[in-house]
Symmetry: C2
């Protein structure tokens, strides 16, 4: 069997016979995928983490003869790209501008990582198709996921849930998973219209549903300090708030459009120490409960050492049992068949990630808290999906997103400014080439947001500790990332 990406559509199939099931190891884990993801994580984070050591070496060379050439050779060797020639050549006058070099290298690492992810996405065409078919089989024509913007959930799709980016999936992150109901209703409307007009991805009478997923998070080892900052590290609050927003979304659609406007809701919790998920199981009416869920960390332990079939059966059974919860978590029966299959696949996919964290980090990330490499502002670069790479503030204006941004700047004062390094702020907006003037407006928006950031953090900006970089990108996933200006 060829090593394939693990996708929702296929991960529930029997493990390839050639892989021996080792005792104590988990039969449903996709080891080939884990190896590939580990390589990817090392190479991406490596790109960022080699910057400071390399610049230290470059700095040490700055009074050597032939400095620019030697610096370039070193940079090519360690970073894979050259450095801006003028900075190197001007070093003899006022010393080497290391802050600018640092910002330049960080944005180069970001760009290279994004390109790498985009390449990767192209090679996943087959599994993307599988995943789409799987969603449609489960009765979903759209899967709209809103996690918290926390950098520790940046790997949600690719690592934690192992879902490829497809045209059916949409991901928008907000602090505390407090997604924008109005904007989501707009997306629902556009999705429905495309079904009515074009029968894409399903015809209007197909009886498929729009699935809205909210993802909150907690920290199992330090729940009171390393949980969701937007909810004061209170897991119950984070969960209830996400639940309330989900119901608001459903209610908005039911109120504004007549009957038949059927949406499904799903709530998922992530333990950011271990990446193990909790899936809240909807009942037959589509209602959720904070107290009715499958705890995948426990399920992983319970199914370790079982053969693949027994393990899979145990997952089915766990979902069934959750549906029979009594007391606080009691609901009205089991969810529809497609929803059950989706949940089962998410749980099994997440087994691989639990194993991944065990293998790579001994079961618990060493960076429980923040260790982001840059601040991502705007639409975010969706191709870069990895834990703790970016602190992400989804915003159209600083005025609306100031609270999120302040948190990010505070984090990076600790991470960077106190080491004398500037805060790299990647401002990124998507445009739609089909809409005339859309690119120009995206560029203008990026420039406006930069000006607002520089005004809000004027002291940092004045001291050169705020390095903004502007990019735009066409809508289709994997489109090239376009530098708006040669900023460094």
């Amino acid at each position: 069997p060829s090593p394939r990406q693990p996708v929702a559509a296929t991960s529930a199939q029997p493990a390839p016979a050639s892989q021996p099931e080792r005792v104590g190891q988990h039969a449903l884990v996709d080891r080939a995928a884990n190896a590939r993801l580990a390589f990817c994580e090392r190479s991406v984070k490596g790109r960022f983490d080699i910057i400071v050591p390399t610049l230290k070496e470059v700095s040490a060379l700055q009074h050597e003869p032939d400095f620019p050439a030697r610096a370039q050779a070193l940079a090519m060797k360690q970073l894979g790209h050259t450095l801006p020639a003028d900075i190197l050549e001007n070093a003899w006058v006022a010393g080497l501008d290391l802050k600018s070099l640092y910002a330049y290298c960080t944005f180069a690492a970001l760009k290279n990582s994004a390109a790498r992810f985009a390449e990767d996405l192209k090679s996943q065409a087959e599994s993307v198709q599988d995943a789409q078919n799987f969603f449609l089989d489960c009765g979903f024509h759209a899967v709209d996921i809103s996690p918290c913007a926390d950098g520790r959930l940046k790997g949600l799709m690719r690592y934690i849930l192992r879902l490829p980016v497809t045209s059916l999936t949409r991901r928008t992150a907000y602090a505390g998973a407090m997604f924008d109901v109005e904007s989501d209703v707009s997306h629902w409307v556009a999705t429905e219209l495309s079904r009515f007009r074009e029968g894409v991805p399903t015809t209007a009478d197909a009886g498929t549903r729009y699935l809205k997923v909210a993802v909150y998070h907690t920290s199992s080892s330090q729940p009171a300090s390393e949980g969701c900052a937007a909810h004061g590290s209170n897991e119950h609050k984070a969960m209830e708030a996400a639940l309330e927003r989900l119901y608001q979304f459903r209610q908005a659609i039911e109120n504004a459009f007549c009957c038949g406007a059927s949406t499904d809701l799903l709530l998922i919790g992530v333990d950011t120490d271990t990446d193990a998920i909790k899936v809240h199981v909807p009942d037959a009416d589509g209602n959720l409960s904070a107290h009715r869920f499958v705890d995948n960390a426990k399920l992983f332990r319970d199914t370790q050492g079982l053969d693949a079939n027994a393990a899979r059966l145990a997952v089915y059974e766990a979902v069934r049992q959750a549906s029979q919860a009594s007391g606080w978590g009691a609901g009205n029966g089991e969810p529809h068949d497609g929803m059950r299959r989706l949940i089962i696949n998410l749980l099994i996919n997440n087994f691989s990630q639990i194993e991944y964290v065990k293998e790579q980090y001994n079961g618990r990330y060493p960076d429980l808290g923040h260790a982001e490499r840059y601040v991502s502002v705007g639409d975010g670069i969706e191709e870069v999906q990895m834990r703790n790479v970016a602190y992400y503030a989804h915003l159209n204006t600083v005025e609306e997103g100031a609270a999120d941004l302040d948190v990010g700047v505070k984090i990076f004062k600790g991470l960077n400014v106190k080491r004398g390094l500037p805060i790299p702020v990647a401002i990124h907006y998507r445009y739609d080439h089909r809409v005339p003037g859309s690119r120009e407006r995206a560029v203008a928006k990026a420039q406006r947001v930069r000006a607002a950031i520089q005004a809000r953090y004027a002291a940092l900006h004045a001291s050169g500790m705020l390095a903004c970089h502007l990019t735009v990108q066409d809508l289709p996933t994997g489109s090239p990332i376009e530098d708006v200006e040669g900023e460094r």
Copy 2:
């Protein structure tokens, strides 16, 4: 014949036989409507204009015995409402707080005017139905109009075009008529979905169209200084910019949705000195030209003294002749029949407004420039439709709308601050009661915008020269305007 509101659907019908057609007067003018509108304008502007004289009288009384009671009696008599008791009672300590009283009275006048307009709208139910039927007869299931935000166009619908507010019409104003293509495409999408799902207002296969109208403006007597500020008072620039935006809108829809996504475009110019319009006549392909239009000021003169039938015939003929323009304005034939009927009705409706300005202002407004009574921020109070009542900045954040707002504040520094009066800023947002949490979010948005305005104009705010008032309103036209807090 009963005196009815002039509506697009009926104004092309024969004038009532009981109205003698006086020589030199225009046979197609609706004199009853003009009288009603004049009364409305006097009473609304009177409400604002009586404030300063009344407060001067109140001020003169402040050292009299029994001052609060006498002031209240005076206010009731002249303003129709009382004044805040605590301000009157505290006057003996530090003098009467006239800035607060002025702001209080201005917002009271605004609220009373809006209520009056809302009442008026309810009494127009019949003409609203007529207008809807007329639009549908012309083949339009939606009429989306974007004028410039200039206060002199605030009476566009009710006065200049004589169109009642209907569920088919939508009006969003932007500086320079530079409307938001993305937001308009969203509205188009929602409109289409409602046709597909519910057959409202027409079924998807009805072959009706979505009409997008842009309205620019100029000043015939001082074109180089009193035209559209957003386009440097250059009429040609204003026109071309609006035209480009219209084409962008059409292109966006044609690109994003397959064939059949038919939209019609219309471009209208207004001379804000006389309220006479120019209507740019689309050709058979729906294309427009800056140089192909009917000049209604000229048409009004040419048709004066004709009997109603002859005048109506002349209007038909003017539209036909415009379609046959050669040279720069050449197009490919005449527009479809429904479009032609719509244009003819707009021209005839506007005759009444040209006559109105002749009667009331001797053919040319005395306030060629700005004489607004308050700054309207946010969604605007759509019920208040009258020239030069408000300077309107449509914005969701000060960050995006700063340029528009700066212009408004500059205007009011001239109008108010130099007389020692604060700038009344009415911050108003609509919510949708069908969307849970929508009202709370609208209130929060209004509060955020107020904070941003107070921060941007900190000196004015500190000196009490910025009086913000927060209101929200449910979506349906005529819904009550809700004070968010007891601000004065």
